[in-house]
């Protein structure tokens, strides 16, 4: 009988031997989805977030980029949480996830206050572009 679910694993479980060069290492990483892949993903999202902060003019979009950075961190935390769950047989396994929840909470608080400032600012200056916000007072 055909088991649809076994085809893909077979395809993906092609192990490379002795990862010595960069290419091999990359290949090995790609075919074994482990914590490293999560970390790379998280790193990429982080970098994208940083790029957003650096290049955008709209304060709100900058805020969103910061949320993206925090989200990248969260991926890290959750991945490590799972990793430790398996490594330590369940001891302290949920701390990463709990920390993630705290990060989300703090992100929410940050967004609330930040957006409050944006609204207050917009009411005075009618703009949300950072390059027009260059004075400490108005």
């Amino acid at each position: 009988m055909i088991n649809l679910f076994n085809i893909i694993p077979i395809l993906l479980q092609a192990q490379t031997v002795s990862p010595s060069g960069v290419k091999e290492r990359l290949l090995e990483g790609i075919f074994n989805v482990n914590i490293n892949n999560f970390l790379v993903l998280s790193g990429l999202l982080f970098v994208i977030g940083v790029a957003g902060v650096l290049t955008r003019r709209n304060v709100i979009v900058i805020f969103m980029s910061i949320e993206l950075i925090l989200n990248a961190v969260n991926i890290n935390l959750v991945a490590f949480s799972r990793y430790w769950f398996l490594q330590s047989e369940g001891k302290n396994a949920y701390m990463g996830e709990i920390f993630t929840i705290f990060v989300i909470v703090v992100a929410a608080a940050e967004a609330v206050v930040g957006l409050g400032i944006v609204i207050a600012f917009y009411r005075n200056k009618e703009t949300v572009a950072v390059d027009e916000i260059d004075l400490m007072k108005w």
């Binding site: 009988m1 055909i2 088991n3 649809l4 679910f5």
Partner: protein, 425 residues
């Protein structure tokens, strides 16, 4: 991941269907075919149901308003939903010139998807009649339904129309506010079921031989009111108040996109009712049902689906009834109702429920172990009587005191009009 999404394997009669058994691997049957069959069946039933809910609403409103209602298309107007559907499909699909095209297109889809995804975890019946019974069932539904507001808000914004934007902003504020009260209202019941998984909630109620509404009358009331507000139904239909905002967020929508919003609204009603039934009214559990059929048997499951459906339909009828008999709240009153009444009441409900639970444990009427409650007969009496005699009046009095100075809910005493009987100038 898949085994987490689909916890339920196919019933034995399904796996033993001759055609399937011979040609398909049992694992594929369990994880792929059966869920797909379930999903397909559910979507078909729910969408048909939604369509007929519109008909039901028109018929019921007609009865309430001493009219006849649709009666031309098909026998007794039974084909009316079909005709409506065809009409909506064939209508011209307008996108305003200044609208944000992408968002305009995607908004109704978000609303619709958010409404339909939530159907996945609702326990429609015992055993195999549920697609998925996940650990975070209730949280999942709250999360997904919080996505629904995105559809509305984006649709309103993308239309680039003042009425739409106002409607969208109103509805966003309204849904966000009432979501708080709704979530809090459920917590009281969670203290009794001790799980977020919806099927397990029903099982708990079955095990305790009770409907949670008896423990949680206040929670149910708050949930129902918040649920009505959450689905933007009268008397909370501010986002689409036709006397003020024409049609609110979907003013600029027409044709099929409009019908997506429409279906989402009715599907949301269905979900709210289903959750109310699951959490407060015992889900598919009916006392005595297990005497009629063997638990777990196919007939039992079918009967449980029927019970669940009847309960849900009864609540849906309540929705219609309320809509056609009450006037509409004003916007600030609506917010006031949420923040000054519903949320404090829900908080008080949580506090009092917790107090009585702890008290019950102290008095050895209730035993809590292994994430389960064991309640003695006296415990039932204690919990139910405190819920009705203490929690409801106490909350009422407290809120009355707190909101003593509230502007809108302290109406002057209504006096009979004075009459002039003598004047004759």
């Amino acid at each position: 991941m898949l085994e987490y999404l689909f916890f339920f394997t196919a019933p034995t009669w399904f796996s033993s269907l001759p055609i399937l058994k011979d040609y398909i691997d049992p694992m594929v049957l369990d994880y792929l075919v059966w869920p797909l069959v379930q999903i397909g069946l559910l979507l078909f039933v729910v969408l048909t149901l939604v369509a007929y809910l519109t008909l039901a609403e028109r018929k019921i409103s007609a009865w309430i308003q001493v009219r006849i209602g649709p009666n031309r298309v098909g026998p007794e107007g039974l084909l009316q939903p079909l005709a409506d559907g065809i009409k909506l499909l064939l209508k011209e699909d307008l996108i305003p010139l200044k609208a944000d095209r992408e968002v305009f297109i995607i908004a109704p889809i978000i609303a619709m998807v958010a409404a339909l995804v939530a159907l996945a975890v609702i326990p429609w019946g015992a055993a195999w009649a549920t697609i998925s019974n996940i650990d975070i069932g209730l949280l999942f539904i709250l999360a997904v339904s919080s996505l629904g507001v995105l559809g509305i808000i984006l649709g309103g914004w993308a239309s680039n129309s003042k009425y739409s934007l106002l409607g969208a902003l109103r509805s966003a504020a309204q849904m966000v506010s009432y979501e708080v009260a709704m979530g809090l209202a459920l917590i009281g019941a969670l203290m009794f079921t001790k799980t977020l998984a919806l099927q397990d909630m029903v099982i708990t109620q079955e095990r305790l031989h009770i409907w949670n509404i008896l423990f949680q009358p206040l929670g149910f009331l708050i949930y129902l009111i918040s649920g009505i507000a959450e689905t933007n139904r009268a008397p909370f239909d501010l986002p689409e108040a036709e006397s003020e905002l024409v049609a609110g967020y979907h003013t600029e929508y027409s044709g099929f996109r409009f019908s997506l919003f429409f279906i989402a609204e009715y599907a949301n009603m269905l979900i709210v009712s289903a959750i109310a039934v699951t959490v407060f009214l015992g889900g598919w559990y009916l006392p005595g049902l297990s005497y009629l059929f063997t638990p777990g048997s196919t007939f039992f499951v079918l009967a449980s689906i029927g019970v669940f459906g009847l309960k849900t339909l009864a609540l849906l009828y309540l929705f219609f009834w309320i809509r056609w008999s009450l006037p509409r709240y004003r916007y600030d009153q609506l917010m006031e109702l949420s923040w000054k009444w519903m949320i404090p009441a829900a908080l008080a409900n949580i506090m009092l429920t917790a107090t009585f639970l702890v008290l019950g444990q102290e008095l050895a009427l209730i035993v809590s172990q292994n994430n389960m409650l064991e309640i003695s007969t006296l415990g039932y009496v204690f919990l139910i009587s405190t819920a009705f005699i203490v929690t409801v009046p106490l909350t009422w009095i407290m809120l009355g005191q707190i909101n003593k100075n509230s502007r809108d809910f302290n109406l002057r005493e209504v006096q009979p009009l004075p009459m002039n009987r003598t004047i004759n100038k």
